[in-house]
Amino acid sequence: MTDAIVRIVGSADVRLDMSPVDYTLLFVYFIFVLGIGIVVRRSVKSSLDFFLSGRSIPAWIAGLAFISANLGAVEILGFAANGAQYGFASVHYYWIGAIPAMVFLGVVMMPFYYGSKIRSVPEYLRRRYNRPTHLVNASSFAVSSVLIAGVNLYSLAIVLVALLGWSLPVAIVVAALLVLVYVVAGGLTGAIYNEVMQFFVIIAGLIPLAIVAVAAAGGPAEVIDRLQNYPDYWLHPWSGTEVGGNNPIGDWIGIILGQAFILSFGYWTTNFAEVQRALSARNLSSARRAPIIGAYPKIFIPFLVILPGIVAALIIPGLGDESNPQMTYTNAIPLLMDTLLPSGVLGVAVTGLVAAFMAGMAANVSSFNAVFTYDIWQTYIRKDRADAYYLKFGRWITVIGVFIGIGTAFIAAQYNNINEYLQTLFSFFQAPVFVTFILGMFWKRMTPWAGFWGMISGIGAAAAVWGAALTNDDLFRSSFQQAMWMGIAAALVDLVVSLIVTAFTEPKPIAELEGLVKGMEIRDAEADSKPVRWYKQPAFLGAGAIALALAMYIPFAFL
């Protein structure tokens, strides 16, 4: 990912042809970003304000921030690359992956998270299981967030280098300082407000790009016609997903069980950078609606990232030519922007890309500082201080986190593969979490040590599958399929170990599970007295989102 970006924009030939108007739009956006951070500073009076926006955010803002925190470089450039290489085959990550997972978070899991008033996802594990389980999850999350923030920072700096002609160190430091200012000043509110702004700007850049790209290829009918010459899975995402088939994304078991049910559910429902946005909502009803509100626009994102990638494969000769470093698949969107967008919309689109990278880093930083302050510092190192102490500490740890990110960015600049290694390493930790959470929420008897050993052995199982794939190249048809089966192995091993350990260890006293498990939810008295109107019910909205996502497959059957 990262090294591909280096190649696009790092090379002088691909420097986008930006006019002064385009630069002006970018700088106007920077002024808004900083201005918002400084204005919302006055709303930050306690640590809860800083880390969770004082639980005051309206549902629609929390919902858009929820998908925006994830709409960064990997999603935009990565899924465009998937489109350019495999057509529509990767839509599964959205329509049966992300969407049902976001609905599940809102409908099923949020009452436990929000109702129990936990302040972070690792805190749930501490209260449901024990400190060792908590420490594994909190520390792996903190470390991965700050390092991935560095990699995001590096991607952002590379774009600035290309656009403005700055040197890389200057670009890294300036980009980091922009993020630092608005997160330190505005806390989570600063990050969330900017994520929602970013969402609208990136959409305003990508919609015109998708429309012009399809028009340049001769219109929708012509695009569909030309795709008939490609492998069947380009237009029919389920084609070739039988076991032993040729669909590069994987087999149907891996896609449904591994990707959708284990990995997507794990990511969207337990990754604190996501869940934090929903926890910032002003009440339980808003918190439950937030991810579901986000699910609706998310359904259409494939048409803004995968579709332009597909069209790029049709109209950019030589895309994917490995001998030409500018023509990598990840460059599909920047190449289209350069080829098709006139000054004006080009400035909006570039601003959207820069904004997306910046928001990606800010999401890492704003979730890192919360977990580090609440879950590591307050839990294990300095307990029982006044709230003002943790607010101040949170601001300082943000500064330190950003500086570690800057260091990581410089390391990433030296070693291009670091991003890949980091992603692989953290995927081990991510693979089993969903099973541990879901057992914990629905099975009172599950013991604290079962939580710990289940999670540890799941991490081991994911690593073992990864190792097996290293020694046997033929095991999986693609890295997508490998990741799915790592998830399946981790989940199964976690499940079995959790059952066995539960049989031999002591469960938690039932009183300590208040609000954390099924049947012991904490009712929100205020919300109960004001019934939520039917069209605002999470179950209704959620069912609608899933139905719409699945319906998206139908038109492809006729192409």
Partner: protein, 101 residues
């Protein structure tokens, strides 16, 4: 607005006024940003050269995108005026509760 303040609310931190609430309303910023973006891009659309039109597959994409962004700006502005932000009640957080009661 100050009439709504509960008794005992510290005088040195007055309750939020509507102006301050609007300053914290994200819709205000989206409205303003897209007014600037929309108007700029629309003007470029009206001045589009044949070369620019040809580049974008014959479409005047600046005009369409600019007008769409102005529309977004108007929607956000109208929404922010029609449904004003709730002025938060002071000290919802127990830690900041006024001393009396």
């Amino acid at each position: 607005m100050t009439d709504d303040a509960p008794a005992g609310y510290p005088e040195d931190s007055p309750p939020m006024t509507m102006t301050q609430a609007r300053m914290l309303d994200l819709r205000t910023y989206i409205c303003a940003l897209f007014a600037i973006f929309g108007v700029t891009v629309t003007i470029l659309g009206f001045m589009a050269t044949p070369a620019e039109l040809a580049k974008a597959a014959g479409m005047n994409i600046n005009l369409y995108a600019g007008l769409s962004m102005i529309a977004l700006s108007v929607v956000m502005g109208v929404w922010a005026i029609a449904v004003p932000p709730e002025v938060p009640e002071p000290s919802a957080d127990p830690e900041q509760l006024p001393m009396v009661h």
